[in-house]
Symmetry: C2
Subunit: 206 residues, 2 copies
Amino acid sequence: MDTKHRILNEALTLFSEKGYANVYVSDIAEKVGIKAPSLYKHYKSKRAIFDAIIEEMNSKFSEQAKALSVNGTSAGADAELYKNMSEEHLLKLGREFFLFFLHDDYNRKFRKMLTIEQFGNPELAETYMNMYVDMPLSYQGMLLGMLVQSGFLKTDNVQVMTLHFYAPIYMLLTVCDRDPSREEETLKLLDEHIKQFNRVYGRTKE
Amino acid sequence: MDTKHRILNEALTLFSEKGYANVYVSDIAEKVGIKAPSLYKHYKSKRAIFDAIIEEMNSKFSEQAKALSVNGTSAGADAELYKNMSEEHLLKLGREFFLFFLHDDYNRKFRKMLTIEQFGNPELAETYMNMYVDMPLSYQGMLLGMLVQSGFLKTDNVQVMTLHFYAPIYMLLTVCDRDPSREEETLKLLDEHIKQFNRVYGRTKE
DNA sequence: GTCTATAAGAAGATAGAC
DNA sequence: GTCTATCTTCTTATAGAC
């Protein structure tokens, strides 16, 4: 990887651990294996590094959203996929979403950085909301909506049902971010959450 | 209020808005209406101010927890209160919890400060977890458990049912923290959440 | 307890050699 | 592109008068 990009990666790691203000340009340089002044040949200031991270994330985010919306548009075709949904599939849906966001290195670091920096920067707060609240709710709302139409789930209010599906996932994610040693306990609770969700919203009640 | 305590309050306000590292001793002094060096007659360092805030919060938190556990111990007596629970009561329970945490000035500022500083300080991460995850879950689990015993709610798993009740409240709280203009929209969703929760867990299904 | 003056040191950024 | 040396500014903290 070229130096310019390695600077971005090391900076993101440090920012996610200590926050922008607590990371010194010399810290970033050291991780990259150069001296601080050399870093200014690649970026004109510390803030420029931060901005580049945000910009990179925004483009990744747009790609992701675009990909999802493409799948969403072909919902008619995908609906087939959801006709024969089982509890196993629902568990998989929740668990995959949870583990991807939890373990994906880039996601994890970026989420932590956003968490730390959000209150000093309204744009970042909006980005956080999009990535971890509004977009998951809209995407999962679409999927769960299909499951309602295919008769696998039953509800009068898909929006609230989606909230009931996703909010526990979100909360358990924030727990693991803060204390990774609680991951095992949390995964068990996640499974029980989804099973109960299925019991409660599934068309066939026991 | 004496100067020593006013320093604590102004510091908390600033820390919650910009984070510890971005607040200068002179900023705090200015808010208090004195010069920076005078501040050192009250606290021996900037860090000491931060520590005093944490300590003050810890004692408030202990009091609160103690009060709740006292009520919890007298659960037998309180159970009467929950025998004639209605949907109105459940709505009130959720809304009051939500609005207290959202609007109480001290809580709001402290929560924001914890959010910003948690990743640099494992103790703060633990405090955050206690205040906004574990304690609410345990307290509300106790209340909802009573409602199950009194026959108002029905479930095989009180822990997961409590997660279903509280996780949406928690998530909507983080939304309002980040964007207060979404409060109205959020309160509506909160009410619908609780109504649907009642529909889904209430003993008498429609 | 509050002030002015100032020390001490940290951190971002630049200059110019290689 | 990387380095050493250095500048500048900002920030915490102290000294000592009132």
